[in-house]
């Protein structure tokens, strides 16, 4: 292979970064500059937009709310997916293929289909506007994702290890906790990161199931931002802050991006 600058890839990366760059510079501009003349960098950079978002509880509680239900969802999804993925990777049983497909089909289901029943069921259970409600709703796609990713990690561990541990007198529980879990730990971390992101980016359900106390930042942007629809600068700062988890995430799991996004099917 010859060494040369990869032109196509570079052009692609630059094009992808243009909208992000535009958002980024707008967040440091004033509205007067944004709607005045077109400027390609902030001529009078200001931190006022960030100060406004981060000092107003009505705004920054949106990040906290989203973080809370996302973390609850990750804990729930990964916890129930670990044994399920183990079961799928190790055993054959009546309906295994059908069930494994069933989880995939749930991942593919449009959130809009489940919106109305969720609102009704969670109203009955008094769980509207609770973090747990959103966390449970988001598990319909995150549990399947976690099972599919983890199944790939479990299948990569040879079952002979378990068999020799059994010969050495380990029970099923200690095989799981002392032998399998340490080996699968990186896989669990990758799965948790992906569940975190897939729940972080969803808004339709998160918005519909919350009213005040558990509203995520995205919904606050449309509501407060909708009132101040000309306040592009403020909304841009709020948007940039929502990108931070993704940017931290991608640095940690850059080696596993294909694996996570392909539901564990491409390594």
């Amino acid at each position: 292979m010859k060494r040369k600058i990869p032109l196509a890839a570079t052009l692609y990366v630059v094009l992808l970064m243009v909208p992000i760059y535009w958002l980024f510079i707008m967040s440091f501009k004033t509205n007067a500059e944004i709607f005045g003349s077109l400027t390609f960098w902030p001529h009078k950079p200001t931190l006022e937009n960030y100060r406004a978002v981060l000092s107003d509880y009505a705004w920054y509680k949106g990040y906290l709310n989203a973080a809370i239900y996302v973390c609850m969802n990750v804990a729930l999804s990964v916890l129930v997916a670990i044994p399920a993925a183990y079961g799928f990777s190790r055993f054959r049983f009546f309906g295994d293929r059908f069930l494994f497909f069933g989880f995939l089909a749930l991942r593919m289901t449009a959130p809009a289909i489940l919106l109305i029943p969720f609102v009704q069921i969670f109203s009955e259970l008094n769980m509207i506007d609770t973090h747990l409600g959103v966390a449970i709703a988001h598990s319909f796609f995150n549990v399947p994702i976690a099972i599919w990713i983890l199944e790939g990690f479990f299948s990569a561990i040879p079952p002979e290890i378990e068999e020799s541990a059994k010969v050495d007198g380990y029970g099923q529980i200690s095989i799981f906790s002392k032998i399998l879990l340490p080996q699968i730990a990186p896989g669990i971390a990758v799965t948790a990161f992906f569940c975190f992101m897939f729940s972080w980016v969803e808004l339709l359900l998160a918005n519909a199931l919350t009213t005040v106390n558990a509203k995520p930042i995205g919904a606050i942007m449309t509501r407060l931002g909708g009132v101040l629809s000309a306040n592009v600068a403020l909304l841009s700062a709020a948007s940039v802050l929502t990108l931070i988890p993704g940017i931290i995430f991608v640095i940690f799991v850059r080696k596993h991006l294909a694996r996570g996004f392909s539901l564990g099917q491409v390594n």
């Binding site: 990869p6 196509a8 570079t10 692609y12 990366v13 243009v18 909208p19 535009w22 707008m26 709607f35 077109l38 999804s77 129930v80 044994p83 399920a84 079961g87 190790r90 055993f91 054959r92 049983f93 069930l99 497909f101 989880f103 995939l104 749930l106 593919m108 289901t109 449009a110 959130p111 809009a112 289909i113 919106l115 109305i116 069921i121 449970i136 988001h138 598990s139 319909f140 549990v143 099972i147 079952p159 980016v201 808004l203 339709l204 995205g218 942007m221 592009v232 948007s239 929502t242 990108l243 993704g246 940017i247 991608v250 640095i251 991006l257 294909a258 392909s262 099917q265 491409v266 390594n267």
Partner: protein
């Protein structure tokens, strides 16, 4: 690798099944319930049989939304799959540049969907947005009342958002090809195109199947991003199936019709998923793992 036959394996699945029972199975059954009944004042339900299904299947709004959704999915697949393969083939294979680019191209995938819509909404603003201003400088106003312009904007937005998924999966697939394959091709004097056609593409089969499945499904369920940019308009030209469903069920509060649309929507998802699943995980392979 052998799998053992074990009828107690269900116990391992029990926690996961209980969670999706609440978060998916019961809600889906509730939808079925809506689709065969009518309600008055919320409390009284009447059996309607197939009435809502007949009404939806005879409705021009439903067909319009379905055709728009399928066309949008087809359009973005036609753009993103070839583009994604092309970028993956020309991606730097290793070194600092490769790592840096991988991190950068993943950022759109991790942007909240609302923010994706917001970024593009601002981008096409006539005075504040880069695209809007560029169009104005060229003397063509960026007309968001023109359905063609709006569709191109949404296709560009979706491609900005998701092409990297195809790139990431194909790039990973390409890296898994043993170097000996390329050496053999070189000895045979194969052209760049022949290498792509006979060595690279066949080895990308699984990556492409997954990428196409995910891209089809996620574009078929598009809601937030498109709604932020267009609110379904101009007219109903960008009202996709998810918009039509939410509109029917929450704004017109027509639960029966909403339920029927949901069931049809879900059946389409189920059929397409099954087709891809049987290609991704063929039954033969599963059986050769030893059903004793």
């Amino acid at each position: 690798m052998d799998k053992r036959q074990n009828r107690y394996a269900y116990f391992y699945l029990l926690p996961a099944i209980s969670v999706v029972l609440v978060s998916a199975i019961i809600p889906l059954m509730t939808v079925v319930n809506y689709s065969v009944q009518d309600s008055f004042a919320g409390g009284n339900f009447f059996w309607m049989g197939a009435y809502w299904f007949e009404s939806v299947l005879g409705s021009r709004e439903f067909y319009g939304a379905l055709v728009r959704s399928l066309s949008f999915s087809a359009l973005v697949l036609l753009i993103q799959v070839p583009l994604g393969i092309y970028i993956a083939v020309h991606f730097p294979a290793k070194g600092f540049l490769s790592a840096l680019y991988l991190v950068l191209i993943a950022i759109p995938l991790l942007t909240p969907w609302l923010v994706v819509g917001y970024i593009w909404k601002v981008l096409v603003m006539p005075n504040a947005g880069l695209l809007g201003a560029a169009a104005r400088a060229l003397g063509i106003p960026y007309d968001m009342n023109n359905p063609v312009v709006v569709w191109l904007t949404l296709a560009a937005m979706d491609s900005w958002h998701w092409t990297s998924l195809v790139v990431l999966l194909c790039f990973a697939g390409l890296r898994a090809i043993p170097h000996a394959y390329y050496q053999a091709a070189q000895i045979d004097g194969a052209s760049r195109w022949a290498v792509f056609w006979h060595v690279q593409l066949p080895r990308l089969r699984l990556a492409l199947l997954i990428a196409i499945l995910l891209r089809f499904m996620d574009s078929f369920m598009i809601y937030t991003e498109a709604y932020v940019v267009t609110r379904g308009g101009p007219g109903v030209s960008t009202t996709f199936l998810s918009h039509e469903l939410v509109q029917t069920a929450t704004v017109q509060f027509d639960l029966g019709e909403g339920g029927a649309i949901s069931i049809i929507y879900f059946l389409i998802v189920l059929c397409v998923s099954w087709a891809f699943f049987s290609l991704i995980r063929p039954r033969d392979r599963a059986q050769s793992k030893g059903y004793s």
